[in-house]
């Protein structure tokens, strides 16, 4: 059910106005007054990306980020993932171990949370030399403690689902086409359900079949309670999944037309 209240922008007191769609559910992510700017020393300039941004995301909720090129959609995702360092405000993540402010958490905790709780899918795969596609995809399961055979079987299932030909499974993806690399990337990123998933243009270089597989997988993850924040160029693909939208040009939350 669409509910724009879940993605709320308020420069002052936050969180007070918004009520979760599923009443009683605790937000996965509570962003308060988040500010990001870049100091470019060689130019002697400070570039403001956004300031005072606040919103919440609940389990199973899909928040779509909107805005023109340069509005800061990817910057927001990267700041939430802590690839970019926040300059003010809080990013509260509610985990089983407790509540942690990603804006201030130690790097070592961020590294751990990225393995266990927070996923990030980009349009780019960074293939490591001499690692087979199926091993790249299986790695998150191996890190989570699954046996090699089990992890590989699951990895192959997802490579097939995303339409990667079986003869490529044991090959090194550094020589794959952009689209094939992206399928490997998606299979890896989505193989292990995480609490919070960020998606930065994941459909950019995909064919129709892979896009459909992605949407099916996202729907299943949503059903399983994974909270998602995404930037999508082909918005029609995920129209049925979106619960709320955040427009970074106007910084206004908006309703989703049903």
């Amino acid at each position: 059910m669409p509910n724009c209240e879940n993605a709320m922008i308020d420069d002052n007191a936050l969180l007070a106005r918004s009520e979760p769609a599923t009443s009683g559910a605790r937000a996965v992510l509570e962003v308060e007054n988040l500010t990001k700017h870049f100091d470019m020393h060689h130019l002697g300039k400070r570039l403001l990306a956004f300031e005072g941004m606040s919103f919440r995301v609940f389990p199973g909720q899909f928040l779509l980020l909107r805005g023109q090129n340069g509005a800061g959609k990817s910057t927001l995702l990267r700041t939430l993932y802590r690839s970019y360092r926040p300059k003010g405000g809080h990013i509260w993540l509610n985990t089983d171990e407790g509540r942690i402010d990603l804006a201030r958490a130690a790097d070592v905790d961020i590294a751990l949370l990225r393995r266990r709780e927070i996923g990030f899918v980009t349009q780019f795969l960074n293939p490591r030399p001499r690692v087979a596609a199926e091993d790249i995809v299986a790695e998150p399961l191996r890190l989570a403690g699954r046996s090699k055979e089990e992890a590989l079987a699951e990895a192959r299932r997802w490579l097939e689902e995303f339409g990667v030909k079986p003869e490529l499974w044991a090959a090194y993806p550094s020589t794959f086409s952009g689209g094939e690399q992206q399928k490997v990337n998606l299979a890896r990123a989505l193989i292990l359900p995480q609490r919070l998933l960020m998606l930065d243009e994941p459909t950019a270089s995909l064919d129709v079949g892979a896009r459909q597989a992605l949407v099916r997988r996202l729907a299943a993850l949503k059903e399983a309670g994974v909270a998602m924040i995404g930037v999508f160029h082909h918005r029609a693909d995920i129209a049925d999944l979106v619960d709320s939208e955040l427009d970074l040009t106007t910084k206004e939350p908006c309703d989703v037309a049903e």
């Binding site: 802590r82 360092r85 942690i100 790097d107 070592v108």
Partner: protein
């Protein structure tokens, strides 16, 4: 406000209690009038790769030698969270340092002459490390040397050749095999691929990645090559003129560098 991110790693609120395997605090090292390290602190957690970057003379290799207990600082503490390593390790005498190094710390130097006896056999170089740690059974020595050499992807049919007859890439593999033979708690790498040609460099880095993944060895990697650091490191420490100017997760350092020097370094590379 920008101070927020810089102060993160050491005093930030912690969610999961992980004990650092290595903790250095307040290290100052002077050579005559030159201050090579100024009040440097470093923390390394189990299983991670800490990359240290900086130009020549930044103090990164001096810091690594201190981690290997080859040298002592003018000031500072060094603790390792391993058995039989209590208190400040700089208080240990030469013998105790040697034993600690032999059992728990492996090192790969840029220059293989520093790490290997060039005219002894390669397998003998690896076995020497095991002998220091007390292994005396010949068959066991041989088997463990073979295991370490094959983990380093060294061709076993060449294991009895002396390093002097081997290529630079192969010599680095022998150093690596020697360093990991005892499954050290800490593996120190000082410019391990500098001077190797690009394809050999990729093979050595891939071997290191594999070792980290399969054996969960904690590594500290010093390099002036940002590409190497980017491929290998989980966290990065940027040094300049004996000081740590910035540290963070590898993607932070490369995507959102904060310090003027780090920005110049990253922009020069990309």
């Amino acid at each position: 406000m920008s101070a927020m991110a810089e102060t993160l790693p050491l005093d930030a609120p912690r969610l999961m209690p992980a004990t650092p395997i290595l903790r250095m605090e307040g290290i100052t090292r002077r050579f005559g009038n030159v201050v090579a390290l100024k009040n440097v602190s470093a923390t390394v957690y189990p299983g991670e790769v800490l990359g240290i970057v900086g130009e020549s003379g930044s103090g990164k290799s001096t810091l690594l030698r201190l981690m290997n207990l080859e040298d002592s600082p003018d000031e500072g503490h060094y603790r390792l969270d391993i058995p039989d390593a209590d208190g400040n390790l700089f208080d240990l005498d030469r013998y105790a340092r040697r034993m600690l190094r032999a059992r728990h710390i492996g090192i790969v130097y840029q220059n293989p002459h520093l790490g290997l006896l060039m005219r002894n056999s390669s397998s003998g170089n690896v076995a020497e490390r095991l002998l220091i740690a007390g292994e005396r059974r010949f068959a066991e020595l041989r088997a463990r040397a073979e295991d370490a050499l094959s983990a380093s992807e060294f061709p076993l049919e060449r294991m009895d050749a002396p390093p002097i007859e081997l290529s630079g890439g192969m010599q680095q593999r022998v150093q690596l095999a020697k360093a990991i033979a005892l499954e050290p708690a800490l593996l120190l790498l000082d410019e391990p691929t500098t001077g190797l040609d690009v394809s050999v460099q990729a093979l050595v880095l891939d071997t290191l990645k594999r070792l980290q993944r399969d054996r969960a060895i904690t590594m500290v990697l010093v390099s002036h090559d940002l590409g190497v650091i980017r491929t290998m490191a989980d966290r990065v420490m940027v040094m300049r003129r004996g000081c740590v100017v910035e540290q963070g997760l590898a993607d932070q350092i490369f995507q959102d560098p904060q310090h003027e020097y780090t920005q110049a370094l990253v922009h020069a590379k990309l």
